[in-house]
């Protein structure tokens, strides 16, 4: 944070030699001073070595500290050693990547010369690279890896639930798989839009050459592989039995695998805070001239409100995890009632973060879908201010609803009507999004491309997810639904059916921009159809399963529910194949047989399409002046969004012919 406060243009570097987009960096040839051989230089191999050394060091420190305490040495597990190992391992990892070079150099008062280099070629995707476009791609790949891993874990869960009493895994492994799936998905979903699309597109959409804090941006990505490895390493330590919610005192009581949960979620929390911090600051300060708040694309609005939530809510999670870590290591008693703590404390802190988190997962989906709708409707977005009000309203309200997760916990029973009210109030701004979506579709010229299909799927899924939420907000109805598969189906409808559909739609929409290659449309269509059908066939029955009396996270259930569960499991496997179709499409169209995409395949007015695909290092030849809003479709005398298209570049030519055809 403080590390990066004055990062911009370097003193000693002549302006002409600065690489556009990342001021302060020298081209590789002009780097001064001592240089390590490249094998020892910053990069993944060194990072892995440093991470291992860091882990061992932390472990050693932990054992050293605890050596005098028989309580610990006799217990067979020193949680302090494990957590310190993970922390120092993470520090070693980012140090090995080269993240720490700049902040350490800065302590000497020299601040720019040893900045990591911008590199060209595929190697830059495996390094600590400060270009926001590289970070966006890194995030995209990273989040897809997270998603597929956690998805496979989901299939493992469904395999176990094929039979009510015969076990594939047994309760121990099953509970580990459940925890891993939930935590990994939650960690990933928080960044799945803001990471790839936020980092890649926000500067392009606001007419900036770079992010405000590129080092923090790159760091926020490089923490995610560390969190991934730490979280998976939990399996080796026996897993954690608490699910992603980590309820104390179960999490205090749990074995060593729980330490991995604390460390991984903590590392990811820092990554989330940094990513959101960078985006908020960028949007506020780096907008091109003429990019007023009214002309700011809805996507940027959505990502910015999300980022505000990320910056403000995640510190509370971090604090809670830290307290849990202390309870597990130095035996504080935050969550132990007999020693002055309370099991309610974790529930309060966790959900105070957890509910904004839920909207961190919903808002970017709204943002992507509303951004794509005008393009494929060839109409201006309907009531843009209402859309923005909806997003801001959802964000603000999300801080005041957390106790609806605790309606039957016995906490503050007198406050339940209040939390019921605030929870239901959230339907109003959510309804705004539907109003805007339907208003935009009204009398539109809808082109049902693959991204548009995903947008339509989003509306349907999110509708069911939102409506089922109303049942959960009503205390008497919630009494049956709480803690069951009904809840689970509800949030999978909003997250998987909402956010992931939007994410996939966004990938189909923006991958041509990010890579210059287009996805296969036919395969994309089948990908959507399969995903839509099997998603609904997986999760719709789960509402019934929950209401019929099956609690969440069980490995055994009533025999009468076997038919439904088997139906769900089989659908889940088919859903897995639908996602496999996506992976095949991705690998095929991006790597094996790339097809060059047109410069502006969707004929969008958006600023991000007014530069080449993929964009050059500095994004634009010059900073654009914004002349009009992004959604002025159907307005005969509309100015182009910026002054970039008047020039005779291929983009401009394409855009010009488009608009001639339109007008």
């Amino acid at each position: 944070m403080a590390v990066d406060m004055s990062n911009a243009v370097g003193l000693d570097v002549p302006a002409a030699e600065q690489v556009p987009g990342s001021p302060g960096e020298l081209p590789p040839g002009r780097r001064r001073g001592f240089r390590l051989p490249s094998a020892l230089g910053p990069g993944i191999p060194r990072a892995l070595v440093f991470a291992a050394l860091g882990y061992l060091f932390g472990h050693w420190i932990g054992n050293l500290i605890a050596a005098g305490y028989s309580q610990v040495t006799n217990s067979g597990s020193n949680n302090a050693a494990i957590i310190l190992g993970y922390l120092f391992g993470t520090v070693g990892w980012i140090g090995g990547m080269g993240v720490l070079t700049y902040p350490l150099t800065k302590m000497t008062g020299r601040e720019e010369l040893l900045a990591p280099q911008r590199s060209v070629g595929p190697g830059r995707y495996f390094r600590y690279t400060l270009d926001h476009k590289v970070v966006g791609i890194q995030y995209m790949v990273g989040m897809i890896v997270y998603f597929l891993t956690a998805g496979l874990l989901a299939l493992a869960i469904r395999t176990e639930l094929l039979s009510p009493t015969n076990h594939v895994f047994g309760p121990g492994v099953y509970i580990e798989v459940v925890g891993e799936h939930g935590t990994m998905m939650m960690m990933m979903m928080t960044s799945v839009i803001v990471g790839p699309f936020g980092n890649f597109l926000v500067p392009l959409m606001i007419g900036a050459r770079r992010m405000a804090f590129p080092r923090l941006e790159a760091l926020s990505f490089w923490l995610t592989p560390a969190a991934y490895i730490i979280l998976l390493s939990s399996l080796w330590l026996g897993g954690f039995p608490t699910g992603w919610t980590g309820y104390a005192p179960l999490s205090v009581q749990a074995g060593r695998g729980m330490d991995a949960y604390v460390a991984a979620f903590g590392v990811m929390a820092i990554s989330i805070i940094l990513a959101g911090f960078n985006i908020v600051v960028t949007v506020i300060n780096l907008r091109a001239p003429g990019m007023t708040w009214g002309r700011l694309p809805v996507f940027v609005w959505g990502v910015m409100t999300t980022s505000f939530l990320m910056v403000l809510a995640t510190p509370v999670l971090f604090g809670a995890l830290y307290m849990l870590g202390l309870d597990r290591t130095i035996q504080t008693s935050f969550f132990t009632d007999t020693l002055g703590g309370s099991s309610y404390l974790w529930e309060n802190l966790f959900w105070f973060f957890g509910h904004p988190e839920v909207y961190i997962l919903a808002l970017p989906g709204f943002a992507i879908v509303l951004e794509m709708l005008p393009v494929f409707c060839r109409k201006p977005i309907f009531a843009q201010k209402v859309a923005i009000a909806g997003m801001v309203g959802v964000s603000a309200l999300s801080f005041f609803v957390w106790q609806h997760h605790l309606f039957d916990s016995g906490i503050n029973p007198d406050m339940r009507p209040l939390f019921m009210l605030t929870t239901e109030l959230i339907s109003i701004p959510t309804g705004f999004i539907f109003l805007v979506g339907m208003g935009t579709l009204w009398k539109a010229r809808i082109r049902l491309t693959v991204p548009m299909m995903f947008a339509m799927g989003f509306f349907f899924n999110f509708l069911l997810g939102g409506i089922s939420g109303v049942f959960l907000s009503d205390v008497p109805a919630d009494t049956t639904a709480h803690g069951t598969f009904f809840v689970m189906a509800h949030f999978h409808y909003t997250i998987m059916g909402g956010l992931i559909f939007a994410f996939f739609g966004g990938l189909y929409y923006w991958l041509p921009k990010m890579t210059g290659r287009s996805m296969n449309h036919r395969l994309g269509k089948w990908n959507f159809i399969a995903m839509f059908v099997f998603f609904n066939s997986t999760f719709l029955p789960l509402f019934a399963v929950g209401e019929l009396g099956q609690p969440r996270r069980v490995f055994e259930y009533a025999k009468r529910l076997q038919t439904l569960n088997d139906w769900v499991s089989i659908s889940a496997f088919l859903l897995g194949f639908a996602i496999l179709l996506f992976v095949i499409n991705l690998v095929w169209s991006m790597i094996i047989k790339p097809v060059r995409s047109p410069e502006n395949p969707w004929h969008s007015r958006g600023l991000e399409w007014q530069t080449t695909s993929p964009p050059p290092p500095g994004n634009f030849d010059r900073i654009p002046i914004i002349l009009a809003g992004p959604y002025e479709y159907g307005k005969p005398d509309a100015l182009p969004m910026s002054d970039l298209v008047s020039r005779t570049s291929p983009v401009a030519a394409a855009a010009a012919t488009d608009s001639e055809r339109t007008i």
Binding site: A2, A313, V316, L326, S333, R622, A656
Partner: protein, 220 residues
């Protein structure tokens, strides 16, 4: 189409981009520091919430047995040192605005020292507690809060150190142009913006220190 674009504003000349970049950088520093304060406030709020929540529940009467108390002397000294550091830096900065560069440099270095003293005192205090971390709700909150505050304080001191180091390093280069307080180069403007931002954050930290001093030693 073309005439539309031509009738619009002329494109931004390349040399104006530097000005844009500078104002964006200064704005980013301003926004960033305020946002940092916001994020830290939520982290501290988690502890304040914990304090009041456990205090009001008082499970099994073990919120705070009276015998358990961290040293009032050390705690007060640490808080006073922190407040003094922040005030000193605040004062030094106002002197810098009047062009007195040396004053800020001295104040900055002294403030760094006081800050380190405060952090050191707090760590020392942790080693001299008359209770175990899990003895009570109060003990947990205290033992949990101090390292958080110390780490954030050390982060702020790192920031201050980079500023001081930078200002010392550029002393000769900028000497003719009014030095840190008066130079109008983009670099100096940005450094001053960073100073301002740091100042805000440091004052925030010291206020938090005072607030939690009240919680731990006055309210109990």
């Amino acid at each position: 189409m073309t005439d539309v674009a031509e009738s619009a504003l002329p494109p931004i000349p390349a040399d104006a981009e530097e000005g844009l970049a500078l104002s964006a950088a200064i704005g980013s520093i301003w926004t960033g520091s305020r946002l940092l304060i916001g994020a830290c406030s939520f982290l501290y709020a988690a502890f304040a919430f914990t304090f009041f929540y456990l205090r009001s529940l008082n499970s099994y009467g073990r919120w705070h047995p009276k015998a358990q108390h961290p040293s009032l002397l050390i705690g007060t000294a640490a808080t006073v040192a922190l407040v003094a550091a922040a005030l000193l830096h605040y004062y030094g900065l106002s002197r810098l605005r009047h062009g007195l560069n040396l004053d800020w440099r001295v104040a900055g270095i002294a403030s760094l020292g006081l800050g380190l003293l405060s952090a050191g005192l707090q760590i020392y205090q942790l080693t001299r507690l008359n209770f175990f971390p899990g003895s009570s709700g109060y003990a947990s909150v205290f033992v949990g809060w101090v390292p958080v505050h110390v780490v954030l304080l050390l982060g702020a001191l790192y920031w201050l150190e980079t500023l001081v180091a930078r200002s010392l390093r550029v002393r000769n280069a900028w000497h003719g142009q009014g030095d840190l307080g008066g130079s109008v180069t983009p670099e100096a403007t940005r450094l001053r913006a960073s100073l301002d931002a740091f100042n805000y954050f440091f004052v925030f930290l010291s206020l938090v220190g005072v607030a939690f001093w009240f919680l731990f030693y006055v309210i109990d």
